[in-house]
């Protein structure tokens, strides 16, 4: 369920870092908690993001939730399919429905994040 090569935040984002590039998304637990997602607001390519600061928001039928960037760096690409098909985020949050790709300004930040097993313990305790 939670890929071993991802790192996770307490706010339920994931990041897959490869060298100084990374792919960012929200976790399966996050989409499950949000329910039917109807909007995804993402920053434009070129935007600089800070670790722990706002990346954008996802909106479900019930509510709006902020997404926080798990790492610092520049947005190089946003996932275009989410504009027309936000429901993909409910279907494949760890795969096709990634949110943004980034060029990392501080790749070592990834080490501060949770491993898959730590994250699963974390959401288990939250339940």
């Amino acid at each position: 369920m939670y890929p071993e090569n991802f790192r996770y935040t307490k706010e339920h984002e994931w990041v897959l870092a490869e060298g100084d590039t990374a792919t960012v998304g929200i976790t399966d637990h996050a989409q499950e908690e949000l329910g039917d997602i109807v909007y995804v607001d993402l920053p434009k390519a070129g935007t600089h993001l800070e670790q722990g600061k706002s990346l954008g928001s996802v909106e479900s039928v019930k509510a709006v939730s902020d997404i926080y960037s798990p790492v610092s760096g520049e947005v190089t690409e946003i996932n275009a399919i989410l504009a027309d098909s936000p429901e993909k985020l409910n279907e494949d949050p760890h795969g096709a429905a990634w949110l943004v790709k980034m060029k990392l300004s501080a790749p070592e930040e990834v080490k501060n994040l949770m491993s898959a097993s730590d994250y699963q313990t974390y959401i288990g305790a939250e339940k």
Binding site: G35, Y39, V61, A63, V64, N90, K127
Partner: protein, 367 residues
């Protein structure tokens, strides 16, 4: 999430948890907000049938020789005009004309009225009614004696009919019959909070689990789904039914809430009547109106509404409409602008987003 020990639960709580429902604190009750998903549950009710546990709703019994007089004194609609077996929507007001609660009044007998009230308002309502009781009538806070299930949708009748000897086709809209469901005494009302046909049944709490299971089994052939408060909210919003704490509260009168149809000023004295008369005489300053988003976004509860860049009102409820595939909502606007076709902007995360006021209800079922 752990449910705080202080949260109240319905007899179906363990059933909801067993169905992996997402639970939320709703006015002090640990209630299911969704099971399979709000949109799927919403469509089940519009297209087939859904069942809701609404056992958190409160019940208050008014009985005695002057039960009708007390009921009429505390409510805005004309209770004395109800026939035995008939129900209506009504308002429970303060002297100021603001809402204590919005309720359903059922006439069980000439000397017996049954009120269905909002869960979180039950104790407040009970005290309010008791304090107004200068009549030969008894008031009982009876929530503990009833569980309530709502079976809603075009297949609601076919689903419930298999479980009761009462001929459901003979119950008219906003009428009810006392009979049996699955061999248990039940009050069966042709009422609902979805804008769809359907029934609300009041049963003994000890039988709620068994009847819930039988309803699901009976509706299986139609694709019945257990539905949570999330779908209940999107369904009632499409039908423009008020939700206490959103469209109405202690600061809002039924005239402002576009509910003048439940206010019978000529029926005689009732609590809040003088304030409503004064409000009518002076003219309303604001009124509830529906809107549709034109720009991208959802105007949600509490968001500010602007007209030509000037603050004009606030959103009371807003949501995507699964049936209409639009983003809809309700808001209060100054009376001069509270008519369909008015361009408005809703402040969504500090950005004005275009919307326009529209006729309501947003959704009306085909007859």
């Amino acid at each position: 999430m752990p449910s705080a020990p202080s949260l109240r639960t319905t007899p179906l709580h363990s059933v909801h948890c067993g169905l992996s429902a997402k639970m939320v604190d709703f006015g002090g009750w640990d209630m299911p907000v969704q099971y399979s998903g709000i949109i799927e549950e919403h469509h089940a009710v519009r297209r087939a049938v859904g069942v809701f546990d609404v056992s958190h709703m409160g019940e208050i019994e008014i009985s005695g020789p002057e039960a009708a007089r007390l009921t009429d004194f505390i409510t805005t609609n004309h209770a004395a005009k109800l026939k035995i077996g008939q129900a209506h929507y009504s308002g429970l007001l303060y002297e100021t004309g603001g809402f204590v609660d919005d309720i359903l009044v059922y006439k069980v007998a000439d000397d017996h009225f049954f009120l269905c009230v909002n869960a979180s308002n039950q104790d407040k309502d009970f005290e309010h009614i008791c304090s107004a009781n200068r009549f030969d009538a008894q008031v009982e806070n009876a929530g503990e004696r009833y569980s309530q299930l709502a079976i809603q949708g075009p297949k609601a009748l076919a689903t419930l009919q298999k479980l009761t000897p009462v001929d459901l086709s003979t119950i008219r809209y906003y009428w009810f019959k006392d009979g049996e469901v699955a061999g248990t005494p039940a009050r069966i009302a042709y009422t609902g909070y979805t804008g769809e046909v359907g029934f609300e049944i009041f049963v003994p709490p000890s039988e709620a689990k068994r009847i819930w299971a039988l309803v699901l089994e009976s509706g299986a052939e139609f694709g019945i789904k257990p539905c949570g408060l999330g779908a209940r909210n999107t369904l009632r919003l499409e039908a423009k039914m008020a939700l206490y704490g959103h469209e109405i509260d202690a600061s809002i009168s039924p005239l402002e809430a576009d509910l003048s149809w439940i206010v019978k000023l000529d029926k005689g004295d009732f609590i809040g009547r003088d304030a409503l008369l004064r409000q009518k005489e002076k003219g309303l300053t604001r009124k509830l109106i529906g809107f549709e988003m034109r720009g991208r976004g959802i105007g949600r509860d509490g968001y500010e509404v602007m007209i030509d860049g000037v603050p004009a009102g606030w959103v009371t409820s807003g949501s995507p409409s699964p049936t209409l595939c639009k983003n809809i909502g309700l808001c209060y606007l100054p009376i001069a602008q509270a008519h369909p076709g008015q361009a408005i902007q809703i402040m969504i995360r500090n950005q004005p987003v275009d919307a326009v006021t529209v006729e309501t209800p947003f959704y009306k079922r085909a007859k």
